[in-house]
Subunit: 561 residues, 2 copies
């Protein structure tokens, strides 16, 4: 009896194993192939229909309800679903409660529609499953990555053909690399900057080997700082923390009314540290497309200053970088060819799927400052890309960008940039035309901020006492905070909100914060008609607020943040 | 005339814009849909046919030739290919020179076949294009990530139902997160460890804010070290460098003959640092599945020691973690429920596509040590996952693992683990059975190392003088190095090679290095028949070598590394 049970079990397990083997094997029969292709068809076209049920993160089903559905933490032992069930499960249970970032009405964040072919390209990358950490698991894809990196490097730095011929496939130098996002790209650049600022001297082997405290002693300093635009991305503070410099030593440089770094203040700060004598400025970070307002620092002036002072200059162009592909607007990033390194995100204005970043270096030997080797891979002198990246194993996203360039050309990307910038300008005009809105930051690239604040109040605030300004400002902060949430939850459209210093609106008035609505215009399907709808809805929500009929008031909200 | 040209140009641009809009729009007509689906069919099935032309990175087309094809660095301005051309281009020009990591004969690295449905799941993630950095761009996917993280956490830590009910969807605590790979996971864990070891004290705000030199002063120490297994992954040294501790302060603890950390030596080292008084041990890192040999440290003993000494213990189970899903072999990782944090890679034995890692924390408040906030997202108290991750924007890979669990069950994963471990044992027997091989490291999980070294030489070395041992060893290093390259380039199969300390083979004899062949057995399609073929080929290559007919000799090699 026992034997029989055991035999049965063994038969069952044999069948399970056969099933398992099957999912690892390319099916030969047409019927199975058709089923797999059918699921791809669903993914390509039907998913869309479920997603468009809502644009924002509506309250139709509250976050609490969704969370309550996802509390089971015991993993199933036996298979419980086939791929078909999983796909329909995603459609019915997940997609309707995901966020339709591809909607033309979703203009609040730097995540938007991507071209259809991107899904195919991502599927190719997954099907190839190459690992570009080393040649032995990628071969040609390592070579492709070097080429694609060189292509973008060339758009930024515009060196001559001889330079690129020397470096494009040079296994001893590196023009940059793909990363998993902007944070990793910025971290890589500042890691290089830190190591160059605190390199070997005498018996000291360099900060990478001996650490920061030993480096400060060897370099005879008490402190290391990185100067960044006050409008820089929060990841730069994080980088300061990770790299051991301390996020308190990531020092914000004041910006002018257009959110651009004040070069005079930067010069004063550098001068101050020099006089004081025991602080090393390891790097300056300039922004080409601030996250909140889309402004570009005066890179030529900053770059000239850094060169004079011998300070490493990094440009965070995670957002704005692809502007270089626009014939009309590339000039907005002038000077970027002079900076030591540049971050550009692939999943932003290169319209690649999450998560792709890139970092580029003017000096092809820069990444030597962070090189690592191991016995089993990335041996010294090898072609293995992993020797000079923060990450180890890494997918071949270079293939996606390489293919996208072929399909759209730099001109296609340029047209997307032009559309965003020109749409932002028209949107700004429309905002100013309507009496109830106040344009808070004028678009330079394709991002702008504004708020509900009717003209009479704007006029009053322009000449009111500081107390009254703060009072009115606080009132409109509350209005705009509520309005953004109401609109988001209604699910027709989505703008984001952030908080800027009051000085941005009232020069010489640094106290207090302004809650603003933020629009990021990167979706080519977004038109002025769409944006007028969004403003109409906001006007209506404000009218409700004034009439006191807002559904918001007194509601118990578990995700108001 | 000029006007006409301008009008034509404008018409041309209008058409370009229409084309551009089209790729962002879900096609309504069946014909277009069929074309897009056809390409997915090609990706699913035809890609395979091109990939299987070679297994390893053959010399059929040399790296130099491939590099020479990828030297154009001028980006095309106009679109030059349609998706159809890109897909066929990938098939014909790239896939044949990529590496067929999915082949059962590719047993050299931790990259292998993935189930077919993974390509669908990756396509879903791309099509949804959610960004889990914040709720506003992911909603339900943020919730799903918390649930999946909790499921794996439960497999590791086995806390009770009440614990998981409290934390699974708790927005104030975190059981861990997805990362882009093992390096980022290890870096996250050691970042937490560093910040806990050097936290706020008195007026000192903590290392994250004030940096390492200030932290050493405030904590009254001169040095901070992290003790790691000598067999640990190179990423841990890298983490030491990045975190500002210095990779020279990542101190290797000796291992025994089975490549497991010597707890006696660890205890001595900790004792030594305590006596000396000015060095803080910020963390110990134990390995559950060494990269080169697949061994597991004695976690219970290491854990008991660390608890006694109050030292943070991290487990790098990037490779071995999923062993916990095997009913038969989970015990190999016993004690892992006691460590403070655990790294597991998704793209290794969870069989997910590149690039996915995960990190888990026993204490759900651990990640508070590395929390960051910003005005426009991840505001304090929000549900936004980005507040406690190294990365910012991040794709929703949780959906892939969640679905894979549903399709395969923990039991399916367990069977894959069992297959690998049992196959490794049989392979070891076969290696020992054949007279010309020497098993260098016996498999504990599913990795083993061996080398060509015929029995008579093994016997001679067992009793030879140190000089003779080194001489013979050098000879076989040369043989095995050459043989691994020959086999790789022949393109039928692939094992990797690495270098181990001689002591592993000859106890008490630490001088010199042993070049070994390394097999990683994770592909369910790999059988003993396959492995026997691989050994046969190696025997034949060695016979060629002995006859002096090896093609290798005197060849000019540009990628011998």
């Amino acid at each position: 009896m026992e034997e029989q049970v055991s035999a049965e079990k063994s038969d069952g397990m044999k069948q399970e194993w056969v099933n398992l083997i099957r999912v690892f094997t390319c099916p030969e029969d047409e019927k199975t192939r058709d089923v797999l292709v059918h699921h791809m068809r669903q993914i390509l076209f039907e998913l869309h229909d479920f997603l468009i049920q809502n644009v924002g993160i509506t309250e139709a089903v509250s976050l609490k309800e969704i969370s309550d559905r996802c509390t089971d933490t015991v993993m199933n032992s036996l298979p419980e679903k086939r791929l078909a069930d999983v796909v329909s499960g995603v459609f019915e249970e997940i997609a309707p409660h995901a966020v339709n970032v591809a909607s033309p009405y979703f203009v609040g964040h730097m995540t938007a529609a991507i071209p259809y072919f991107m899904v195919h390209l991502k599927a190719i990358v997954a099907a190839l499953n190459q690992n570009v950490v080393k040649l032995e698991t990628s071969k040609m894809l390592s070579v492709v990555e070097k080429q694609v990196v060189a292509k973008v490097h060339r758009i930024i730095y515009q060196k001559d053909e001889a330079f690129y011929r020397e470096h494009v496939q040079n296994t001893h130098t590196s023009l940059g690399s793909f990363t998993e996002g902007g944070t990793t790209a910025n971290l890589t650049a500042l890691w290089v900057a830190r190591n160059r600022a605190l390199g070997p001297v005498g018996a000291f082997e360099g900060v990478e080997v001996e650490g920061l405290p030993a480096a400060y002693a060897a370099h005879n300093i008490d402190r290391c700082v990185i100067l960044v635009s006050r409008r820089c991305h929060y990841s730069l503070r994080k980088c300061g923390g990770i790299l051991g410099i301390g996020n308190g030593n990531i020092i914000p440089v004041p910006v002018d009314r257009t959110n651009r770094m004040r070069v005079d203040r930067l010069a004063e700060m550098i001068e101050g540290f020099k006089k004081e004598g025991r602080t090393r400025v390891a790097a300056v970070v300039t922004v080409a497309g601030t996250t909140e307002t889309g402004n570009v620092d005066p890179i030529p002036e900053i770059s000239a200053l850094c060169r004079k002072e011998g300070i490493y200059l990094h440009a965070d162009a995670a957002w704005g970088g692809p502007t270089l592909m626009s014939e009309t607007y590339a000039h907005l990033l002038k000077g970027i060819e002079q900076v030591d390194s540049v971050t550009i995100d692939g999943h932003k204005q290169f319209y690649m799927p999450m998560s792709t970043g890139m970092v580029f270096f003017k000096d092809p030997t820069s990444l030597d400052a962070v090189a690592y080797h191991a016995n089993y891979i990335i041996r010294k002198g090898s072609v293995d890309l992993g020797s000079k990246t923060l990450s180890g194993s890494r997918e071949a996203n270079c293939l996606i960008l390489d293919s996208a360039f072929k399909i759209m050309g730099s001109r296609g990307y340029g047209m997307l940039i032009d559309h965003g910038i020109e749409l932002a300008r028209s949107f700004a005009e429309e905002i100013e035309r309507r009496g109830i809105f106040q344009l808070v930051t004028r678009p330079e690239l394709n991002i702008l901020t504004y708020r509900v604040c009717p003209a009479p109040f704007q006029e009053e605030m322009a000449q009111a006492s500081p107390e009254r300004i703060l009072e009115l400002n606080e009132h409109f902060n509350e209005v705009n905070r509520a309005l953004q949430q109401e609109q988001r939850e209604a699910g027709n459209s989505f703008v984001s909100r952030t908080v800027l210093e009051l000085e941005t609106v009232f020069p010489g008035f640094p106290e207090g914060k302004v809650v603003v609505l933020r629009s990021v215009l990167m979706n080519p399907l977004t038109t002025m008609d769409v944006l007028r709808d969004i403003l109409d809805e906001q006007e209506a929500l404000y009218a409700d607020w004034l009439r006191g009929t807002s559904t918001r008031k007194g509601r118990n909200r578990e995700d108001a943040i």
